[in-house]
């Protein structure tokens, strides 16, 4: 069975406060990296997938149901073969 890999990026939605990102940006400023005015944090997953015709739909489902919290987050999927 052929395998593929899905890379899932989870982002906070625009407008949702990101205290972690904010404090990272502040630390960068303290280190002298003042050119980075904003940092937004997120999460990253690699999924090894068995091929099946409805794989895209299944990945989408798992992103919505489990990997992201649709109230505050959005996601983006990249397929790598």
């Amino acid at each position: 069975m052929s395998k593929s890999k899905a890379i899932v990026y989870i982002h906070l939605k625009d407008g949702v406060l990101d205290p972690q990102g904010k404090s990272i940006a502040q630390a960068m400023g303290n280190m002298g990296y003042n050119e980075f005015s904003s940092v937004r944090s997120g999460r990253y997953f690699e999924l090894e997938c068995d091929s099946r015709p409805d794989l895209d739909k299944r990945i989408d489902e798992v992103c919505r149901k489990l990997l992201s919290n649709p109230v505050i987050e959005t996601y983006r999927v990249e397929m790598v073969s």
């Binding site: 949702v16 406060l17 205290p19 972690q20 404090s23 489990l66 990997l67 919290n69 109230v71 505050i72």
Partner: protein
Amino acid sequence: MKFGIVTFPGSNCDYDAYAAVKHTVKQDAVFLWHKSESLDGCDVVLLPGGFSYGDYLRSGAIARFSPIMKSVIEFARAGGIVIGICNGFQVLVESGLLPGALMRNSHLRFSCKHVYLKAEKYDTPFTGACPPGQTLKIPIAHGDGNYYNFQSDIEDLRQNGQIVFTYATADGEVTPGANPNGSLMNIAGISNKDGNVLGMMPHPERAMEKILGSDDGIHIFNSLVAHFDKKRALAG
């Protein structure tokens, strides 16, 4: 009446909740194992605090798919009384039984201290026996308690009377300074629209005896008992 206290892997307030119900409020209490689908005929389901599944992914995100949660969701949808405390609140928002999300505290620190809660309404199964006009001194212990929702949804919560507890000063003033985690509108606890599901970050089960610093948590458990007494009396 009978309380069912759910134990997830990583729950750590289940025994406190059990002791609160069994020994202080003197009602029946049983533990409900996360792998079971039976609620054992309980009148109230309590999702306790802790770190279910190590808080992996997001707090409450994995516990929400436990076999027991299928039954809890059905029970809640049928009008059953469910209370989620701290991690239990996180499980309830992840499961969709309560709206919104609980984000990292705005100051990024785990916060463990007594706070004062203002009951925003008294006509709920959870607050009916709370002394009107008095704040409740109850401890919090969480890192992800910062209640978030879209502005329009927050407005809905307010209009539907779903905001049950807010963080306040000892005198009951809802001020930014009294907010320990950055939650919108100082929200400490909300209910669903039907009012039968409550989630709250503070731990009433840790405030059951004066020797613990406060016994104000009793009022919340007494409210539940009074609610069921009344229901039974009406059913006659």
